[in-house]
């Protein structure tokens, strides 16, 4: 996770919000804790919404699956 954390911070520093979509999605897939997964999926979903990213519907469905949206 340290490496992923560094990549996240780096993407934030560059304002690379499209990258945050995939990085937060990756973070979500790295944990089995549902609350933690949903936290990361939420982060990914928000940046996908902002960017009009093609993953936004898929991420919405992930959160809907856990009744979190």
């Amino acid at each position: 996770m340290t490496s992923l954390n560094d990549r996240l911070l780096n993407a934030y520093a560059r304002g690379a919000h499209a990258e945050l979509v995939s990085l937060y999605s990756e973070a979500a897939e790295c944990t089995k804790d549902i609350d933690e997964r949903c936290f990361f999926f939420t982060q990914a979903y928000v940046f996908a919404l902002e960017q009009g990213h093609p993953d936004k519907e898929k991420l919405y469905q992930k959160l809907a699956q856990y009744d979190r949206i």
Binding site: T42, Y45, L49, E50, K56
Partner: protein, 383 residues
């Protein structure tokens, strides 16, 4: 500050032009009066805010502060220009601080509540706790962006801040009819056809100066060589607009004899005729055979106005050199007016000035505007 309907100062402004005085000094020189007047005159009417070319493409967003109110001009995904208050419904954070394109949603930089370009609240991340994006107390449909009533006419985006004015087409029916021949697509000349002038005067002085032709031979002697005072006529539509027209409009001609293409279908009246009208409160317009312009007066303070000038043509394909010359010509003319409007602003600090007296023959358009302002001041009750 508010005036009683019977206030003698306003009553003197509203007398016939032969006997009237102009608006009192305080309407120009007092910051508190500026704020009160804005609520009475600029919030309650259709004020010019921007032009639709400020958000030329779908998704473009531009923050604009108007009378201290943070607004957001947006062209939504359906190609409709909208105006919102530029704040998140959560904590009142400013949403967008510089012009940019919205690729997907408008995301608040504070807690990332997201809005569509049509203002709908579409996401409230973690609002029900970490990873939970809903809460029964937060109803998205109730928490969209606060939209400001707006209307686009002649490419100008007008807003009605208090939401209570009559519909734009009703309020401005007389000018829409008067200029119905000019109801044509207007093509903005682009970056070389827009400029701003930052002027140390109250916004009303810019209106008043534009409304009358009386000053032309003294302030614009170059115009007088072909556009003499006697070739102009006054335009007065009480309660709506005023200005001046000319009977000897002369097109700009390039060194090779080229001119801009005319707007199609105009009657012969416009061959040598042109009109320059102040659409109350703060938009100055020109209708001419082959180009038009709009000047939006941004009232920044009681003694400061930014004039946003935009020049339009009948086609998007105009000669670059001629277009640049045209911008330079208008900029030069408008700059010639700066000394007099700034001089009048300074003059409003003289306690002996009583608003001044009007030339009944020449100042009708100015008096028409003063009467309109005074009527709004009389009718406005401070809440």
């Amino acid at each position: 500050m508010s005036y009683a309907p019977s206030d003698p100062v306003l009553a003197s402004v509203r007398r016939p032009v032969e006997h009237a005085n102009g608006l009192p000094n305080a309407q120009y020189a007092d910051p508190d009066v500026f704020a009160a007047e804005a609520r009475a005159v600029l919030h309650t009417t259709w004020a010019g805010l921007a032009v639709q070319e400020d958000v030329a493409e779908i998704g473009d967003a531009k923050p604009i502060e108007f009378l201290g109110i943070p607004l957001l001009l947006v062209r939504d995904k359906n190609d409709t220009v909208r105006v919102f208050q530029n704040i998140c419904r959560h904590r009142g954070m400013i949403l967008i601080d510089a012009p940019r394109k919205i690729e997907g949603a408008i995301r608040c930089p504070y807690h990332s509540w997201c809005y569509s370009t049509s203002g709908k609240l579409v996401s409230t991340p973690h609002v029900g706790g970490p990873g939970n994006n809903k809460h029964e107390a937060i109803v998205n449909d109730d928490l969209g962006l606060i939209e400001v009533r707006s209307h686009v006419w002649r490419n100008v985006v007008f807003i009605n801040l208090d939401g209570k004015a009559a519909p734009f087409e009703e309020e401005n029916a007389a000018l829409i009819v008067r200029w119905h021949e000019h109801d044509k697509p207007l093509h903005h000349g682009g970056p070389d056809s827009r400029f701003t002038l930052d002027v140390a005067c109250n916004w009303k002085l810019a209106v008043e100066n534009y409304a009358e032709s009386y000053h032309l031979p003294w302030v614009h002697p170059s115009l007088n060589s072909y556009s003499r005072l006697e070739d102009h006529y006054n335009i007065e539509e009480p309660g709506a607009f005023s200005g001046q027209g000319t009977l000897v409009y002369r097109q700009l001609t390039g060194s090779n004899g080229a001119t801009f293409p005319d707007f199609e279908g105009l009657s012969s009246k416009w061959d040598e005729g042109a009109e320059y009208i102040c659409l109350y409160p703060n938009v100055l317009l020109a209708a001419q055979r082959e180009h038009a312009y709009a000047i939006i007066l941004e009232p920044v303070a009681h003694n400061r106005t930014v004039e946003h000038v935009h020049i339009y043509y009948s086609t998007s394909d105009t000669d670059d050199e001629l277009r640049v010359s045209n911008t330079a010509q208008w900029k030069g003319i408008f700059e010639e007016d700066i000394d007099v409007v700034e001089g009048m602003q300074k003059g409003r600090s003289a306690p002996g000035f009583d608003g001044g007296r009007f030339s009944p023959a020449m100042d009708g358009p100015t008096h028409c505007f003063h009467d309109w302002v005074a009527a709004h001041l009389q009718n406005h009750e401070e809440k």
